[in-house]
């Protein structure tokens, strides 16, 4: 990408709402029988759906954020929204009204949920530059995101304990060289001089800001918050050449959106990479001049992936075997390899394994139940058992 285009993309700012996409439809559904609803009624609806007590003002900000996004999308109209909890008290009865467009998408949701989600994607793509930037990258290539989740593994072995990290930060010191070396290893490429400079600069600013709090907070909690902020330095520095200069939380939110839209998937379990890979699971066609979505094709969706599934699973299993993994493959790794190879959603993989658990004339599946090993492992649920290990045998 040319630097001019990069600068242009960088100039565009955006605010991706910290919401879950189904909540938009939950809120919209509240207008099904009454065209005018208050913020409080939206809040109660969300509480009911989450099966939580609606006591006090629980989920007030979720109700507000969803209402704001619905308004930006032109699906409801409203006068004003509360900035904080105190303002909510006086504004909880503020009215919002569904628009004709809102009615239309609600009807679509009732008749064909998949189409409603596609429509939601089109609308959000139209108003969110960050989303446009991410989609443009993903349609060209998978995105490698070296999220820093462990100070010890991803920065320096000196930071095996949170106390060591806290002590360094309080003295405005940090193993930036170790961080860059690890990033280079994880990205499997050398960091550009500008990238290193931006990281150095960002870390320096971070230390100025966080040296004080380091002496006041509990070490483990502080370390967690610091790593979160460190990602806000690292990710924009490494991904800005792709026009992705936004903070870590925005990345996370967009990953979850793609997952819900079934348009892209992300995994941090691929054995070839010590980072998170984000990859497309559908093809989006743009108008010749770009900017407008002409079509979405789920060309590696459930049906396509189901065809000769066990053969594909065996190929993924063999990839793991070549890396010297055990006879029984860990589900997380097998899932990651399979999904990246076949550009499919993890949920598609889980469903198809469940469908094919008896094997076939050609392939036999042996499964072991899941024994909790790490907090991020996700087994496959088959019947009433959690499967953690799988062996695929060609008869």
């Amino acid at each position: 990408m040319s630097s001019a285009k990069g600068e242009l993309l960088k100039a565009a700012t955006d605010s991706i709402p910290r919401i879950q996409l189904p909540d938009l439809f939950i809120a919209l559904k509240e207008f099904e029988h009454e065209p005018v609803r208050s913020l409080e009624e939206l809040r109660l609806k969300l509480c009911a759906n989450r099966q939580k007590s609606a006591a006090g003002d629980r989920y007030w900000s979720t109700a507000r954020d969803n209402a704001i996004e619905l308004e930006r999308l032109g699906l409801i109209s409203a006068t004003s929204f509360p900035k904080d909890r105190r303002a909510y008290e006086s504004m909880r009865d503020n009215k919002t009204k569904i628009t004709d467009e809102g009615h239309r998408i609600l009807e679509k949701f009732n008749n064909n949920r998949a189409q409603a989600y596609d429509e939601l994607f089109r609308r959000m793509y139209g108003i969110h530059p960050y989303l446009q930037a991410l989609v443009n990258v993903l349609m060209r290539k998978p995105l490698h995101v070296p999220v820093v989740t462990s100070a010890k593994e991803h920065v320096s072995s000196r930071y095996a304990s949170a106390n060591a990290l806290v002590e360094d930060v309080s003295r405005q010191k940090f193993e930036t060289d170790g961080l860059c070396a690890n990033l280079s290893r994880r990205m499997q490429r050398n960091l550009a001089r500008e990238e290193q400079a931006e990281i150095n600069d960002g870390v320096w600013k971070l230390l100025q800001e966080w040296a004080g709090p380091a002496t006041m907070e509990e070490a483990p909690l502080f370390a967690k918050k610091f790593l979160q902020k460190l990602n806000d330095v690292v990710l924009p520095a490494l991904l800005q050449s792709d026009g992705l200069h936004f903070e870590f939380k925005t990345h996370q939110t967009l990953w979850s959106f793609g997952n819900e839209w079934k348009l892209w998937e992300s995994t941090a379990k691929h054995p070839d990479w010590d980072l998170r890979i984000v990859f497309r699971t559908a093809t989006i066609a743009f108008s010749p001049k770009g900017g407008r979505i002409e079509g979405i094709s789920f060309d590696s969706g459930l049906e396509k992936t189901r065809h000769r599934f066990l053969e594909k699973l065996f190929a993924a299993y063999q990839q793991l075997q070549k890396k010297g993994r055990g006879t029984f493959a860990v589900v997380d790794e097998l899932r990651a390899v399979f999904c990246l190879e076949n550009a499919c959603q993890e949920s598609v993989f889980d469903r198809l394994v469940s469908e094919h658990y008896v094997g076939s004339d050609e392939f036999e599946l042996n499964m072991e139940i899941f024994r909790k090993s790490g907090q991020h492992s996700r087994p496959i649920r088959i019947g009433n058992r959690n499967i953690g290990l799988i062996r695929v045998v060609k008869r």
Partner: protein
Amino acid sequence: MAIRIAGRRSIMQDDFRFVQNPYRVSEIYNVDEPGTYEPLMYGKQFDEFYTKFFLNPLSKDNNRQVIGAIWSSYTANRLGKGYGKSMLMAEESKRINKDFGASKLKHFGVAKDDIAANPFVSGYCSFKEASEVKSFPAALLDAVAFILRSDCGESETVHQVLRRRICERIEAEESYEGESIRRALEAEVRRHRSLALQLTHKEVRAFNEHLCSEDTEQLINRMAEIGPRVKASQGFNFVHIFNVFLRLAGVNYVTYFVDQIENFAKYARRQDQNIRILRESISETSPTRDMASFVFQMHIEAQHAIEDWWDNIEHLPSLDPKKKINSTRIVDLQGLANKKEAILLASKYHSDNRVPRSKTPNPLHPFNEDIIEQVRRSESGNPRQFLQKLGGILDHAVSDNRVKLDLAYVQPLLEDIPEAISAEEEEGEYSNVER
């Protein structure tokens, strides 16, 4: 007829469109007046109920006995009250007896020939302090009476149909059918050596005679007149005779559901002796041990009360729901596990109580799905408490002259909602579908 006060609008009838509040203040099951029954509210456990207690045993040629339990093991409600165990046991037994289980087998996809060859019946009984039913033999004799007087077909009782089937099978002598059946019954009883029955005993002989005659009412009256002491000492003999009677009629499977076992745990004077007799009768005596299943209503308190004798001393099969190995013999009712089940139950109550020919915007009117779900959550999915709460909300609305109900009105009437009840996943309701 209910009163109407002049000049006062009846919100219940005019706005809510109910003849009366559909929900009782105390929703406790009564076998004679069961009220509204919606089996779909049991969700997955309904199919489990049939699979474990009927379909699996009937899939075997012999050795059909199941000793199992219907549980409600929710730990916050140690007495397991209000989960619909009694209603499930009794109402499904009535439906089974209506056609010897034929329509149920058909529902589960059993072939026509197999349905005809495998008639079965089901009985329900309960330990009742007020009726002096304090021992297993007395309770099970009630279950026999329950089966015999159950409606069968258009206008007959199970007793009459069984008797007719026996007449056909033994080619009973015309005008002397009762005597022919009695002779056949006694001959069949004598074939089972483990049945140490004194057929000349006054009560046994009277029971046999009434069982073989055609008047069901007299038979039931006779059984009701048997005193508690005779019931306790001879009760199982009547059960064994009835099982032989079933066999003669070509019915080779029966399930006995035993309710309110906590009353046994609380009031029976000699629990040890009672449980020993139970074991001998159900596990060691033929034909009962091959053709009769016994399913006990259980909850945590009842289990604690009987477990020492049950498991450790008499070696009866464990009824502990926490042990995975027992899961093929146990159905653990989860209450209203999701919104759909709650909606089904409320809709059924509403349709049974609507003002005739009235029109409502939806079956839940004046509630909506969100209110139903919030009430279900607030009552941890307990069906009885859920129904009672809905009734309370309607009464409140009438008292407040409130014709429109929404979450904002209902919320203050609900107790604080437990955060961690077991609810089936419903997160897919608004999520995108798989592509």
